[in-house]
Amino acid sequence: MKLSRIIANTGEWLSGSGPHDQIVVSSRVRLARNLKGKPFPGWAKKSERVAVLDEIRGAVEQLPEMEESFSEKLEDLSPLEKQVLVERHLISREHAAKSAGSAVVMNTAQTLSFMINEEDHLRMQAIRAGLQLDEVFSMINQADSELEESLDFAFHNDLGYLTACPTNVGTGMRASAMLHLPGLVMSEQVNKIINSVNKIGLAVRGLHGEGTEAMGNLFQVSNQTTLGEAEEEIIGRLNKVISQILEHEQNARQILLQRRAETLLDQIGRAYGILCHAHSVTSKEALNLLSFIKMGVDLGLFPAKNRLQVDELFIETQPAHLQKGLQTTKLGAEERDSLRAALIRAKLKQMPEPEIGKIPTGSATTLPSEES
């Protein structure tokens, strides 16, 4: 199957639905595995990497759940195609930088993806919409159990699954959820939450994981530790924390509606105004403004039928997605910004103006604003 056919459709995690999917954009679990007795990719010779690649790729392609799949060596993908996969969270930025001796295999629904010879011999992930960490874990756990019948994974009696980096040893599992938290950002509570989450051994990061900025009010919550706890315990801990953050976000939105409805409407209205009329928008500005539109949909200011359109814009406005349909050579930043603005204008044209009367707790004018 061709990559172009796969990326023509948005993945299940974006277009599908799941519990709490207004706030929890997606849930993802990845497992790191290495073959017994083979040097890790970063230390292996090219010939060794290629041998590992052939062995793992063959096994992955044989999986029943990968019957309809896309499988390609990284050296045979263009930089643009790799970037599209990064923007969809199907491969990591680190993996995109690899070429000879690495490959990616994914199913057409884009719920399962296998990175071969990333930092470890195999990094496999399952991703779905909404809060369903248990479900994505059982998907990837199933694939892992099937793979271990034909592959011998490096496993240590005390330390569990062995990984190139000691931070992943044990379960080799990183479970994460992508949260959309405009309410907590607007009410300036998000740093407090990040700090307390960090204190209990979980990490909060920006859109594209480690070392990235939080754009579009999107935050990734994940486990830091992998040794000493069973997979289910780690996920249980995450689920608890995410449910609490969810509650805080919902409360923050309610309080904003009651006390600062005018500010809230102003932000959503401005975002709509700018995006409807701008002719040059950077990807960061697009994400930040789209975040307000998305919250507007959550609050009923825009029709629910436009939700998917808005969600898709989060991905479609990313640099590589903007260019994926074009045959031309790589666009410069300025050209991308105007292309992005045009795309957003066209999509928002199909959406009515925000309906302020629809604000759930009465009209804005009757509520005292804190600023006055």
């Binding site: 083979k38 496993f155 569990g160 000691p166 931070t167 599992m173 040794l227």
Partner: protein
């Protein structure tokens, strides 16, 4: 501003490095900067930045010059990359890794999934350990009936795995337990 490493002395060396596209800033005092080899930027331990300060010191708890016998990876390589060479490195550098893992994780023993192929063996080994401990306790407490039962279970498990020869080597207790067990049960107190 205090030194990030000793947190005592004033920082005078300010280091900025780009690691995997991410800017990392470290503030060090004079003596810690020398110790970390900051004067020689190529020798500065990337492991510290990737795995948290102190990681490179931890790995140095291994005797100097140790190399992984399987892949030839050295501590210097670990300090540079923050990654290990192969699965055997975990045993080769165990001494230094233990301290590092303790700081990073919630324990030092894996509590999660085990590959099915190994799970049977792992369960058997753990069961044997449990039974042997129980047996030793039962003999010490003179609960001979219980001890005989445990002995038979251990035998059964051992025969399954290694064949009958192994039993004689492992069984370090008298065979006539059952005889002495009978009177013992009458006086035994339930614990």
């Amino acid at each position: 501003m205090f030194c990030d490493v000793c947190k005592i002395k004033e920082a005078t060396v300010f280091l900025t490095q780009i690691v995997e596209g991410k800017m990392q800033k470290v503030n060090l005092c004079e003596s810690c900067s020398k110790e970390k080899g900051v004067n020689d930027p190529t020798g500065f331990a990337l492991a510290d930045l990737l795995l948290g300060l102190g990681a490179a010191q931890e790995i140095e708890k291994n005797p100097a010059g140790v190399r992984c016998p399987v892949c030839g990876f050295s501590q210097v390589d670990f300090k540079k990359t923050g990654r290990l060479g192969c699965s055997a490195c975990y045993d080769a550098f165990a001494e230094g890794l233990t301290g590092m893992l303790k700081n990073m994780h919630r324990g030092l023993v894996h509590a999660g999934k085990v590959p099915a192929k190994l799970a049977v063996e792992r369960r058997r080994t753990q069961e044997l350990i449990r039974l042997e401990e129980g047996l030793a306790r039962a003999i010490a407490d003179e609960h001979f009936e219980e001890a005989a039962g445990l002995r038979d279970k251990i035998r059964h498990l051992t025969i399954q795995e290694n064949g009958p020869d192994e039993v004689n080597r492992i069984a370090a207790f008298p065979d006539n337990l059952e005889v002495s067990a009978t009177p013992a049960t009458k006086t035994r107190k339930k614990s």
